[in-house]
């Protein structure tokens, strides 16, 4: 290539495009990187390649129908997205959800969180150059997918949480299978640590890379493991408990370093916390209805309703403005991926290009969640 053909800025810095089709971005995202040699000066994410205007679409769907589309935003925590929407509608209609439905919802949420973190762990290791962990991760995730398939009928986009409870009752095999999975997975987390966490090469690539301070993380709007890695308590399950999380005994994992390795450790500890939540609930599923009696046609009263839940990536908020009709006047989703992406430029400045993919990996970006 001739020198003149290389894209440079006026100061002579190199401009590189990563994506939109690039395996390391885990989706269609376009990064315009300005570099001086190997040092990153600026990262500019370009979005919109997978924009489906879900928010606008929801304005023409009824309060039962719009929930299915949120499974397609953050497809790795689809149960939790559906849960947030169901909570917002229930808040508007003042539906009392049966105890059994609440417990089923939490069980499903935590299974989803494990599946999401496991997939992230595999993809994260692949981003820094280790291919084997990806296959280990998919082996465990497959078991959760089988459990989901048996009870909900789908493996990825469940649409299982409906206003008033859950769509169908648990499958008779559910309790047995979840218990088997929890016992099996406890041994596998130790394998994960042996393979990746204690690996010195991995640690060297993660420690002191992509550092963000607590104040910066808060001002960028980061939530979830990204914020907790800076030592800020931000778990919605603790701050604003929903559907009975307040009765459960679990810890909020916190790290203080704020670097890539801290974000990694927070997620690994969250895996164990989710397992302990499942342990507390799986033997105590109350009998009763799985769905409250609701009207055939749901009409929210005039007003504004907001609910928030903790997905695997951070705070997911659903904001519904209702004019009293069959469909919402406006719906806004506050997705964690978008806010977490906004700090990428901040943490990548001054770092080397080779670490960029690792930093993006620890932010745990799901591109359809960012674009919606």
């Amino acid at each position: 290539m001739q020198y003149e053909e290389i894209a440079t800025t006026e100061e002579g810095n190199l401009v590189i495009n990563v994506g939109p089709q690039h395996p390391a971005t885990h989706g269609v995202m376009h990064l315009v990187i300005t570099m001086n040699g190997e040092t990153i000066l600026n990262v500019e994410p370009h979005l919109g390649y997978i924009h489906r205007s879900i928010e606008k679409m929801c304005e023409s769907l009824s309060y039962r129908q719009f929930i299915y589309s949120t499974s397609r935003m953050d497809y790795l925590s689809s149960h939790i997205n559906n849960h947030g929407c169901a909570l917002a509608v229930e808040k508007g209609l003042q539906i009392e959800v049966p105890e059994r439905a609440k417990v089923i919802r939490i069980l499903m949420d935590e299974l989803t969180r494990i599946a999401s973190h496991v997939l992230w762990w595999g993809a994260m290791a692949m981003d820094v150059g280790a291919l084997t962990p990806f296959f280990h991760a998919f082996r465990e995730r497959e078991l959760i997918n089988d459990i989901m398939e048996e009870t909900c009928g789908a493996r990825l986009t469940m649409n299982y949480m409906v206003p008033g409870g859950v769509m169908t009752d648990l499958h008779p095999n559910f309790v047995k299978k979840v218990k088997e999975f929890v016992a099996f997975f406890r041994t596998k987390i130790d394998e994960y640590d042996t393979l990746v966490t204690y690996n010195v090469i991995f640690q060297e690539r993660m420690k002191n890379v992509g550092v963000i301070s607590a104040a910066d993380a808060v001002s960028f709007g980061c939530t979830g493991p990204v914020l907790r890695a800076c030592g800020v308590k931000s778990d919605i399950r603790k701050l604003a408990p929903y559907d009975g999380y307040e009765k459960l005994n679990f810890e909020e994992p916190l790290e203080t370093a704020g670097d890539s390795y801290a974000r990694y450790l927070v997620r690994m500890r969250e895996l164990r916390e989710s397992l302990s939540i499942i342990d507390q609930l799986i033997d105590n599923i109350p009998e009763g209805d799985f769905q409250a009696k609701t009207k055939a046609v749901l009409k929210l009263p005039k007003g504004e309703f907001y609910s928030r839940v903790e997905t695997a990536r951070g705070e997911f908020g659903v904001y519904i403005i209702s004019e009293g009709g069959l469909t919402p006047y406006r719906i806004h989703f506050r997705s964690p991926g978008f806010a977490n992406l906004s700090c990428l430029n901040h943490i990548a400045k001054g770092q080397k290009i080779g670490d960029l993919v690792a930093m993006m990996g620890t932010l745990d970006l799901v591109i359809p969640d960012i674009d919606r």
Binding site: L61, E149, G153, A154, T157, T194, N199
Partner: protein, 156 residues
């Protein structure tokens, strides 16, 4: 002191790498823990609730349970279902709405199960098929009621 630290780092590095290699080696020699399925030769058995596509149940007399009430059409978020009805002459001389064609667009369907929940007569259900690929898009538009089928007696 620098030398001691250096040797310690080398030791811990080698140890962590070897313990990872040991785990990989364990799986290399334990073939029973490999769970890969040879897909086209061994077909997966899907769970009974798996949502593959919408089908209409017919009994041995080629009768279905669909009254043509369009509850599923209204419940569908993607306009996947289109119900065409006709006026059928009853034996007592009255005209009654009956199902003519149940059009199902598989290419639009997101398998959200809302139509199945909405159906008051359990006429439709989800099938467990999953190999839906065809060569032409028009083949995905299906007519769910079997030719010559009629409404089961006693279903209102």
């Amino acid at each position: 002191m620098f030398i001691v630290d250096y040797i310690k780092t080398v030791y811990s590095t080698c140890k962590s790498l070897l313990s990872g290699m040991r785990l990989t080696g364990y799986y290399f020699f334990h073939h029973k823990e490999i769970i890969t399925e040879q897909y086209p030769d061994v077909k997966a058995v899907m769970a009974e609730r798996f949502r593959g596509e919408v089908v209409m149940t017919h009994d041995e007399k080629n009768e279905h349970r669909c009254t043509g009430c369009t509850a599923c059409e209204l419940a569908c978020p993607n306009a996947t279902i289109k119900i065409v009805t006709k006026q059928e002459l009853q034996p007592d001389g009255k005209k009654k709405k009956a199902l003519e064609t149940f059009v199902y667009h598989l290419e639009l369907c997101t398998m959200c199960n809302l139509c199945i929940v909405a159906c008051p007569t359990d006429a439709i259900k989800m099938a467990q098929t999953f190999e839906h690929s065809v060569y032409d898009r028009s083949q995905l538009t299906k007519k769910l009621n079997a030719p010559g089928s009629k409404l089961m007696e006693g279903v209102e």
